[in-house]
């Protein structure tokens, strides 16, 4: 394993006389990367989770190329076969190969989860920056009331509403997940910005006439990066879970495309005749979400020890 060797390098650098302890480090991005890495490496579950996540992404990318079976090919003669050499994960009620569906489903489920979380983080951060920077103005009040109203739709309901209006498609699911993620991220970023905004370096850059956009981009985002990354990680977990829920309800990527949540819905229909069908997609969703949560928790302990999870499901 080459990981520890790579990781010890910054540790030496930090331990070198006259570098880390006094004053802020020269390159903030480098130091952040180092702090994240140190936190994950120091936490066994987070380390295992990171390895798992790298593996599952690799499987999603390479798997369908190696195991070259059509995940949409139906074969009524081969319905509900238990796992065997020919079909390592068995077949579903349409005779489709479950391993092939799991591998292609990994691409869709992970892509949707990450893309949806990314959308929520980007728009949530922008909204949080703007409302924090212009905190107390009518704009801030209006935006935060809208966010409050979005919180009135608990859990998956906001995503259900949007997905139901837009109709099922890959892009629409990502839109629904992005909107679903905005309230949490924007509140957190707003909170951080509100506390940063009164600090001397921001006042100083205002005094020298820096534009609002420049202050946000050069001073505020950079200092809010820690909490943003922590909650971005946690929102990936929520996003994958919510995407699977939408898929289970038939609001996800439309069939016959394989998606883990929709596969569980198929498995529900034959829950006693083919119990194995629910094991693969269920375990895949569970382990992926668990791994992301372990990493997110480790990062939060490092960056944001006094915080709490707002959205519970």
């Amino acid at each position: 394993m080459t990981e520890p060797a790579r990781a010890t390098a910054p540790a030496h650098a930090m331990g070198a006389p006259g570098s880390a302890p006094q004053g802020p480090p020269r390159d903030l991005r480098m130091s952040l990367r180092y702090r994240f890495w140190r936190e994950i490496r120091g936490n066994r579950m987070a380390m295992i989770s990171t390895i798992y996540l790298v593996l599952i992404v690799a499987v999603a990318v390479v798997g369908p190329l190696v195991y070259d079976v059509d995940p949409r090919l139906q074969s009524l003669a081969n319905r509900l076969h238990a796992p065997s050499w020919e079909h390592p994960f068995g077949t579903d009620q349409f005779g489709r190969d479950v391993l092939a569906r799991m591998l292609h489903g990994a691409r869709i489920s992970l892509f949707v989860g990450f893309a949806g979380a990314l959308g929520g983080v980007v728009f949530g951060t922008i909204l949080g920056l703007a409302t924090g920077f212009w905190g107390g103005t009518w704009f801030d009040h209006l935006a935060m009331r809208v966010v409050d109203v979005m919180y009135a739709f608990p859990g998956i309901l906001l995503a259900i509403l949007i997905a139901a209006i837009l109709g099922p498609s890959l892009f629409n699911v990502i839109v629904a997940l992005s909107i679903w993620g905005i309230p949490t991220l924007s509140r957190i970023v707003r909170g951080v910005v509100l506390s940063l905004r009164e600090q001397e370096f921001v006042i100083a850059s205002r005094a020298v006439g820096a534009s609002a956009a420049r202050i946000m981009a050069r001073h505020l985002v950079v200092n809010a990066v820690g909490p943003i990354i922590v909650y971005a990680t946690l929102s990936v977990a929520g996003s994958i879970l919510t995407a699977a829920g939408l898929g289970f309800l038939g609001l996800g990527v439309p069939p016959p495309n394989p998606e883990w949540g929709a596969m569980l819905s198929d498995a529900r229909a034959v829950v006693f005749r083919a119990p194995y069908l629910s094991y693969f997609p269920g375990a895949a969703i569970f382990l992926t979400v668990l791994a992301v949560n372990f990493v997110g928790d480790a990062l939060r302990d490092a960056f944001d020890p006094r915080s709490e999870v707002r959205r519970m499901s």
Binding site: F153, P154, L241, L264, F272, S278, V309
Partner: protein
Amino acid sequence: MSTYLIKRLFMVIPTVWGAVTLVFLAIHLAPGDPISLYIPPDFPVNASEERIQELRARVGLDRPLYQQYLSFLAGVVRLDLGTSLQHRTPVAGAILERLPRTLELGILSLAIAVALGVPIGVLSAIRRGSAVDNVAMTLALFGVSIPNFWLGILLMQLVGLHWPILPPSGFGGSIFTANGLRFVILPAITIGISGAGGLARYTRSSMLDVLNEDYVRTARSKGLSGRVVVYKHAMRNALIPIVTLLGLSFGSMLSGAVIVETVFGWPGIGRYLVTGIQNRDFPVVQGAVLFIAVGFVLANLITDLVYGFIDPRIRYD
């Protein structure tokens, strides 16, 4: 206290109004013609433009937007949530009929979540850093991470295939009868476990905050036993923020019920909502989502009122 109560009651109105407005805006801001959401199942696919205009007029989509908005608002106020495209029955009536089922399931789930989550969180905080804490918090993270629909399917398989002590799915009447209770146990456990994970994590951090307070140190230093300090001084204060969380938890129970009711064939609002999704019956979806959102806002109102009652420091001005 009474001004607090009245002010808090009035704060509910803008939130509910906002939720209704958000739904209306989402329908009309979304790309595409909103009429596509209101096409009944027996409507011909290649209908003439005339038929579509006729439908538009029937649904009211031909009127100016502000009029549509006002009649939408007025409808909600009168608890008129539109008519199901599939069944041609009022959505609000169907929801009210199913409301007791979902409330029973939701309250039982919440009870399970509290009974599991709060003691685990307290124990974890007291034994911070110990093996007990590690195991408990890992389990809590399992609860947060497991998709409730998978957990439901696994529990169904457990009783259906291996351990037939409970019916795997269905509905057996009110949960206050012996038979009805047997049917509610599995879905309630499914939803409760997910909620318990979040509650345990929150309870632990709330408890740790309190255990660091000066008055806890004072209590310890004057020689009170650990048990008295933990239960009389720390826990009673740590539970206060948890009460707020109960309102939020109730929301996640409702949201969990949407999916879990479908897994277990539980005839509640969630099942109704999902049937609406499957039949492309948008009025049903919209009505059920709005109804659950308002229920959630009211649940939060109640917890806030309880909160103001148990914590005399809370003053509203």
